[in-house]
Symmetry: D2
């Protein structure tokens, strides 16, 4: 299996909805093009930002297929999967592979808390059902499962098509452990926007982020500054973006990014209920943050 090289900015489109609460594929196309134009090195659909948890099965397939088609090979496509049952996760992983995804990013999802053995079996079963590479995704805040670096690295070691790790716990020490325990040999990715500066310094291969939808190539500039050893510029860029990066995480990626897109002139609708539009004061804050960054 040849693993596509994921590095740099892995950009996450939201899933746009029409006024009738159906998926808006036209706007999704525009958003994908905009992300690629801003320098995204890969496109990742149906992650947290993509409201995958709030789509029905048909919508999910629609978004997966359309994303792959719209990207059209310009950059690799990652499809996110976070399902409560192993069976549904396998179905979606197979679908993604058939549809032409380059990578699937898979998080366990918990109602009952899962034991390590249950997590291992979940991933083993999915990995056996597909041939494309899997990025393990640890996001305890949304998925209710917290996988240790040790557990994730052992899955990478034991299962040939599990090859990458996305860490979104918000704890920089986890990234240090991944690097230390693997001798820097396993590609890992930052999934916590406001941890970007330290994650890049810690050795991530890329930054998974929905922020380029709002602030274009500025996250990529930060990646570049760190990679070129220009600490002063990197620090300046990070502190300029930090408040926005924190805002969109704390206020919910889907609601925040959709509100910001509308401010920037792209109507991707609102997040699906029970999620609501950002409260008015939060919208004012967001407007200010975006204005500051576009100056």
């Amino acid at each position: 299996m040849s693993t596509p090289t994921l590095q740099g900015i892995i950009a996450y489109p939201v899933t746009p909805f029409t006024a009738e609460d159906t998926v808006d594929l036209n706007v999704l196309s525009q958003l994908i093009d905009q992300l690629i134009d801003s320098g995204a090195d890969a496109i990742a659909a149906l992650g947290s930002a993509g409201e995958a948890a709030y789509l029905d099965a048909e919508e999910w397939q629609q978004v997966a297929e359309h994303t792959i088609q719209q990207v059209g090979g310009r950059v690799p496509v990652v499809i996110g999967i976070a399902e409560l049952t192993t069976k549904t996760a396998i179905d979606r992983a197979r679908f993604a592979q058939l549809a032409g995804a380059d990578v699937v990013m898979i998080s366990p999802l918990a109602y009952y808390s899962l034991t390590e053995q249950e997590i291992r079996q979940h991933f083993t079963s999915i990995a056996e059902a597909i041939d494309i590479p899997i990025m393990l995704y640890n996001n305890p805040a949304t998925c209710g499962v917290d996988m240790s670096p040790q557990l994730m690295l052992s899955l990478v070691e034991q299962i040939s098509n599990i090859t990458m790790i996305k860490e979104s716990s918000g704890d920089i020490q986890r990234m240090h452990q991944i690097w230390s325990l693997s001798g820097g040999s396993v590609p890992f990715y930052n999934g916590c926007n406001y941890l970007a500066l330290e994650a890049l310094n810690a050795g991530v291969s890329g930054w998974c982020t929905a922020a380029p939808g709002l602030i274009g190539d500025q996250p990529k500039q930060l990646v570049n500054a760190v990679q070129s050893g220009d600490l002063s510029t990197a620090r300046h860029l990070f502190y300029a973006q930090r408040e926005l990066l924190t805002f969109i995480v704390k206020n919910g990626l889907a609601s925040s990014v959709k509100a910001g897109l509308r401010m920037n002139g792209l109507n991707a609708g609102t997040a699906r209920k029970p999620l609501l539009e950002l409260p008015t004061p939060a919208q004012a804050t967001l407007k200010q943050l975006l204005d500051n960054l576009s100056a």
Copy 2:
């Protein structure tokens, strides 16, 4: 609206599966009869113990309908609903009402964390769509949302068919607050098995539990002992059951109860993957606990 009087033991059947991983309605019928025979004052299907999160839409409807039919009016029936989108929650609540449920027990379910306003709107929309009473269900460990006593009481006050509260956070102070803030006027229920003794002393109207599936009328005996002021017997009964009550929560209700049912001679299958059968040492512990309680 006349609210059915829920009090005493609200018993939770698991959802049995066949060897082919389909819902086993025959075993479900047996289990329901067994629970009613052991003195259950109500039957609550499709809660956490019922693996509702792991059923597809059709299975969910099947279990709801069959439970109501099998109970046949002997005791009230509660149907649990915990859905990520408001739309799906409304659909299920309407279905439950049409099928003849006496009460729906509703928990918000979070992928993105929910604001208080989002929770309010979720419940308001559901309540407006049905006429039967709603029991608010707070279970942060499985549902990812923690509703304060204040929030839940304000929903009870503002929405006429939200009339009851089930508290499963495991914090006895929450129950004290519900009682204190409402002057003891709002019926509330214990959803944390190992908190049973203090919850009963704190003034709950009932105890929501899957334990009667394993130990018959012993939970009801505890309820009766507290209500009759026989502290010594209550303490004795509680300490006798405590380790089992803790075990089934800590090891997952569905997996634990299914393992115990099999030990007691009723084959309800295993929990749905990624959930696994209890590990062998845990099964041995459970066997010992059940043996001690059946002596």
Copy 3:
């Protein structure tokens, strides 16, 4: 060694200060008499409520001696010890024994976190240095050490003059574990005021509390109601006191009780700086709570 029977209400006087910030032994005498008159079954000086942590060595000895003298054998006297070094803890324990204390209540105190081995050695060294019984005191919030029921019970088992446990973590499950693991054979005490109802039902031998300084025999009435199996009265008494019991813990025992004593006509001064008098709004709340309970 004959262990004094500690049960019922173990009352905690604050350490009164004069306007010149010296210990006010006259007021201490009055407070001790008042506590015994309100039915205290034992007096415990130099616990958290007694601001032991804020006294210098000489003051500490003064309060220990004076308390024992003033109680004069009417009820047993417990002296609290929580010191950072083992050497100082031993010195104080020996002093307490020489001064005539019936029991010493000992908590480890942490700057660096302590290992189980360090805790064991601390208690072993102190226990070997004295002959009077020791009550282990677990109060993680103030002392920075959290001793499990298992650890405390093993100390009770291994060291002959460690005979009692005071649990102040606020987690009722710890008390259940102490009872279950010891078969109810080790006397344990509630140190968390707002947990009083459930602690009494869980089987504690007594309730360690500063509340009688403010509300006289009402805590004792609650103890009596539970012991006589009068659940309805117990619940009524507990809910009447609950808000006050919570208030004095959340606002700091020393500051709260001293403010309340002044409202009741006894000037015990204020807590030592950096502790400040209760803010004005909190004083108004406290006044209302006391008025409600004295009606």
Copy 4:
């Protein structure tokens, strides 16, 4: 007031004890010289590493005076103060000033939790009593008080001789907030060893650490690499040191550093009881870590 420029490595000597458990001033002198020889830009005595919490008043003064004398103006001297009462903290701050300290580093210390108003008054009272600059020190794990960046910055703004912040909570976001909220104008310092790489990138003025006692100028090399924008070398140096930096924090600075000093040939005794020598397996781990770093 002219503030001494603290930057780079602020090195923390432990407090050596003789076999008779008295302070060993000879070894302290050797250790101080060794730290300065390894490139320390300042010496900070009587912090956590210095076991200040475990010294009596006389010993504390002895260590403060001797440190200042031994450093002899080669680099600035910082004296740490963490006292339960405001009065004692003032006494020690005055003593430090008289003895010739350049800076006092002050942490509140909690038995009862402190309100923001209590913390403000504590610092105001101390600051008014001295003329030398104060470094605010936030170390919730050992001191039981967690000061927010907002609170600390407002103290810096309002009180003229509070001029620096040392952040030891282990949360890199706090450092980002200090920088963002102050526009990078307030010098702040990293007190969490294993956060060194990200703290340096986040803009700290220096790194407060006991590690140079064990690994000489390697921490300073890391500081230099970041400052010169050599990310690759910085990352390499950090990952080489990371396990040791984590070890000495997790196992207690005093015990760990004293064990390591002995391995390196300097007998600084053991930490004071109840602290014990590192367990044998931990000593073996430490030996291995030191060997790897000296290779």
